[in-house]
Point group: C2
Chain length 101, copies 2
DNA sequence: TATATTTAGTTACATAAAGTAACCATATGT
DNA sequence: ACATATGGTTACTTTATGTAACTAAATATA
């Protein structure tokens, strides 16, 4: 990969947010926690990739995972403060899309 | 692909902005027009993909392409109003990255 | 004359990421 | 015994991306 003077923080942000589905997953959690299946149903994403993305987001501290040992099992995902701080970004995209698309 | 009730405009916005490099290319043009090589030098992207992305952005009306028939040829890219409207989004990502990454 | 330089790309090929569908463990219900 | 539901995982195919070499046009240099 080429070396540039691109801001490493912006670069890292885009590595995360620029990945397919990531921003839409965050968008789904803006209004509160959701279960795995709920997110899967509200996006045209497969379980395989949703699982992968949620792991990445959890690792980055954007999303928090909570397991409820019920039967069947229940797992909830919700945004951390770091994730909630993306509300502005996601809202900005939503606004732009409404005005220009 | 699965069918969901996801807002088609947001969906289309993410199809564009969620594509690798797109947002960073827009970011590079926020402060004014740039030439092909300038963008290429300021991002770790290859000419192949930069060319592809610029074509997509031009087709979507986000970027405008201007050819100057000099020798050697000069081609400048700049944001349209639709592209400039993304300033908020890009700025939001930049702010978030500075605070949380 | 032959070769080099510059810009803005394109082409061909290898690798990485994403899409698809089938499958698994758990516990309960029929 | 078989079905159902949840939250995944596995194996396989297709698409996207990365890499490097190449092109055209017009001039400059040896």
């Amino acid at each position: 990969m080429k070396e540039t003077l691109l801001c490493p923080r912006l670069s890292k942000a885009m590595e995360l947010l620029g990945k397919r589905w990531t921003t839409l997953i965050v968008y789904q959690l803006i209004d509160g926690a959701k279960r795995f299946n709920e997110i899967e149903s509200s996006l045209p994403i497969s379980g395989r990739l949703l699982s992968e993305r949620l792991k990445e987001l959890e690792k980055e501290g954007v999303v928090e995972r909570t397991v409820f040992s019920e039967v069947p099992i229940r797992v909830e995902y919700n945004l951390t403060d770091k994730g909630l701080a993306l509300k502005e970004v996601v809202g900005g995209i939503e606004t732009w899309s409404k005005e220009w698309l």
